[in-house]
């Protein structure tokens, strides 16, 4: 084996949230430097929130992410209602779960088909993939649209929905809209089943690793909008205690903050959720999971795409269940009275735990806000994974293969699309 020294630079990573890059230096056959650089321009949302009314928060935080605005709206409303002393009743809890199902379906289908699948089948984009596998890509686009349709039912539009307010939804969906959406989802459910089976046949690399999975849990259901924060290392805390266990630090090469649990990297997202909440899957999804032959909890991070497909199936099944039991409400929202206080919200964005903290003054103005997105939590894990995976893959492999493998590893985490991981341009420096 030659002990080469060279750099692999990926100046623009695509298919993640924000703009990012990867710098990798290999000296004498060893990784001497590995940096996942996130250079998405800072947009200072937490500061813009200060001084605004609590009622403006759902519309503002949606703009953090066009792919998962629902997650931002759900974590924010939970935190603010926590301050106002509002408790969502059964109707609202059901509608919020339905709303979240829409976002999981939309986001997961987009990631599986448009971003991740080309990696495993040797294509550079979904259009080329569709040239060979048109039915697969079309199925993905149909599922993505079904997710968007659920979001539109409650939110009016799928990107930056307008239907959400602190206290609930501005309006309840009509029974006729519910009926037609229900019919559409029932027709599509077999396609979601087929999707799970298909992801399990993909030639996924072996990526056994030792990591801590973190997600919401102990919620009595597969977690979306509520629960405690639990981990595979035995953590079990109230969401209000997040800051006692988790800390963010700023590394020079990134405009995203790195989050650690007791100084260690950890995993959030579909695989972490599946690992921690497998026993809460509804029967139909559970059976599909068993049929994949993969046993959860799984230590192979590349099983994320299968976990994502299973969650998509779960979200379709849950959406159908919730729509079947739908009854319109005369009071789709509760009115709150502003008061001083601090509140916390944590929900499961498609990419993982999304934690918010707000402080309000007596007029309902935001005094301070703190938002910890999933991509910042996964950043340290992605770097650790890259070190392990690339060593395992073989640093003596041709550089083009190393680059492709590095991209595949990064994309597997679905770093929120505006964050960028796709094009690894090689700049080789023999040291």
């Amino acid at each position: 084996m030659t002990e080469r020294s060279f750099n692999v630079n990926i100046p623009v990573l695509t298919r993640v949230e924000g703009e990012g890059a990867l710098d990798l230096s290999i000296e004498k056959g060893q990784i001497s430097e590995l940096r996942l650089r996130i250079f998405e321009p800072p947009r200072l949302f937490e500061k813009f929130l200060e001084g605004r009314s609590y009622m403006e928060v759902p519309d503002m935080v949606a703009r953090i992410c066009g792919i998962c605005p629902v997650a931002y709206q759900m974590s924010a409303t939970q935190a603010l209602e926590n301050i106002l002393g509002l408790q969502p009743g059964p109707w609202l809890s059901a509608m919020r779960r339905l709303f979240y199902c829409g976002e999981w379906i939309e986001s997961h289908s987009m990631h599986i088909h448009l971003l991740a699948a080309p990696d495993f089948l040797g294509f550079s984009n979904a259009i080329d993939l569709a040239g060979k596998y048109p039915d697969i890509v079309r199925r993905g686009l149909r599922l993505q649209e079904a997710g968007n349709a659920i979001i539109r039912l409650l939110g009016g539009r799928s990107v930056h929905p307008v239907g959400v307010r602190v206290g609930g939804f501005w309006r309840a969906p009509s029974t006729s809209d519910v009926a037609s959406l229900l019919e559409e989802l029932q027709t599509l459910l077999p396609e979601a089943e087929a999707l799970v089976q298909w992801t399990a046949t993909l030639p996924l690399p072996d990526g056994q690793q030792d990591f801590e999975s973190v997600s919401l849990g102990n919620a009595g259901e597969y977690p979306m909008n509520q629960g405690r924060i639990v981990s595979s290392h035995g953590l079990d805390i109230a969401i209000a205690d997040f800051e006692k266990e988790f800390s963010e630090s700023h590394v020079p090469h990134s405009t995203a903050l790195h989050c650690h649990h007791q100084g260690q990297d950890y995993l959030v997202g579909p695989l972490a959720r599946m690992n921690l909440n497998f026993s809460t899957l509804p029967d139909s999804t559970h059976k599909l999971a068993i049929a994949t032959g993969i046993s959860f909890p799984s230590a192979n991070v590349f099983h994320s795409i299968v976990a994502r497909a299973l969650e998509l199936h779960l979200a379709m099944s849950e959406a159908i269940r919730l729509l079947q039991g739908y009854e319109p409400s005369d009071s789709p929202y509760q009115q709150g009275t502003p008061r001083t206080g601090i509140g916390f919200g944590a929900t499961e964005a498609p990419r993982g735990l999304l934690w918010h903290r707000y402080e309000l003054d007596e007029t309902g103005s935001i005094v301070s806000a703190r938002i910890v997105p999933p991509t910042s939590q996964n950043q340290a894990r992605m770097e650790a994974d890259l070190r392990t995976s690339l060593n395992h893959f073989g640093l003596d492999k041709p550089e083009a293969q190393l680059r492709q493998h590095a991209e595949t590893v990064i994309r597997n985490y679905d770093p929120c699309i505006s964050c960028a991981t796709h094009f690894l341009k090689l700049k080789i420096q023999h040291i």
């Binding site: 695509t14 800072p42 703009r63 448009l114 984009n125 079309r138 686009l141 649209e145 990107v159 505006s418």
Partner: protein, 263 residues
């Protein structure tokens, strides 16, 4: 690839990625698009050739870093037609709320432990502040219909229709009850460009201006109406200084009331 097809690019600057979803959420139209045009740059979807010559470049996001400034000049050089998509590219976006704020450098320090590593221009500005823009599509977000219809027209050599009429007109056509008149909600519909489908009034809530100013928007008059409805200067300012705070006349009216609040 068919070399005779028109070439298009989609570029991203400071944004949430939501406007690029106009392409990625288009379903079947995304697949047929590849038969009408050759996509040469669209990093989110898998193409990376930022400097390739194209017929049409779609640009999402605002210019907020020195590097962005270099990039947008290169985009302009490479494209025959440059189309901005969304509030960030067209008006500086929500992140333009930092423009003119004295302490925005302190904000960076509040969020980032090592602010010296954060490269940022003093203001977040629209694409048109730096290069010539051929067509501006407003909206936060733009819709698939809006973007694909503009693209279709451009491919046929037709100048796309870009309506500047207010939400009010569309709202009336849709038969929604006026939330301003019947519920005294501070609706921005009279001064906001339509294109959303008058969504907020359909949900029984006031428009919050996410498509930016309509043509000939009388913002001063609407602000005065808000005042008569009992809104204080700070509340009025916040209505105008939100998603498109850097777009005139929202910016002028908003700042006017912000100053009143300080007095």
């Amino acid at each position: 690839m068919n070399n005779s097809l028109p070439r298009i690019a989609v570029h991203k600057f400071a944004s949430c990625d939501g406007c690029q979803l106009a392409f990625l959420n288009a379903g079947e139209a995304l697949l047929t698009l590849s038969q009408r045009a050759e996509i040469v740059h669209f990093t989110e979807a898998g193409w990376d050739a930022p400097l390739a010559k194209v017929d049409i470049a779609f640009v999402e996001g605002s210019i907020s870093t020195p590097h962005d400034l270099e990039r947008i000049r290169a985009v302009r050089e490479s494209a025959k037609t440059l189309v901005t998509i969304g509030a960030c590219a067209t008006a500086g976006g929500l992140q333009a709320l930092r423009n003119g704020v004295q302490q925005s450098a302190e904000w960076v320090a509040d969020i980032y432990a090592s602010p010296e590593y954060i490269q940022s221009l003093p203001e977040s500005r629209p694409i048109s502040a730096h290069v010539i823009v051929d067509l501006e599509l407003w909206g936060c977000p733009v819709t698939s219909k809006q973007v694909l219809s503009a693209l279709g027209d451009l491919l046929k050599g037709i100048t796309p229709v870009n309506s500047g009429e207010p939400v009010c007109v569309e709202c009336k056509r849709s038969g929604h009850a006026c939330v301003l008149v019947t519920q005294s909600q501070p609706c921005m519909g009279p001064v906001t460009r339509t294109g959303c489908g008058a969504l907020c009034p359909a949900f029984g809530r006031a428009c919050y201006g996410c498509f930016g100013p309509a043509e000939q928007a009388n913002t001063a008059s609407l602000a005065n109406q808000f005042k008569h409805m009992g809104l204080g200067p700070k509340d009025i300012a916040r209505r105008f200084l939100f998603i498109t705070s850097a777009a005139s006349p929202f910016s002028d009216t908003g700042r006017h009331y912000l100053e009143q609040d300080r007095d």
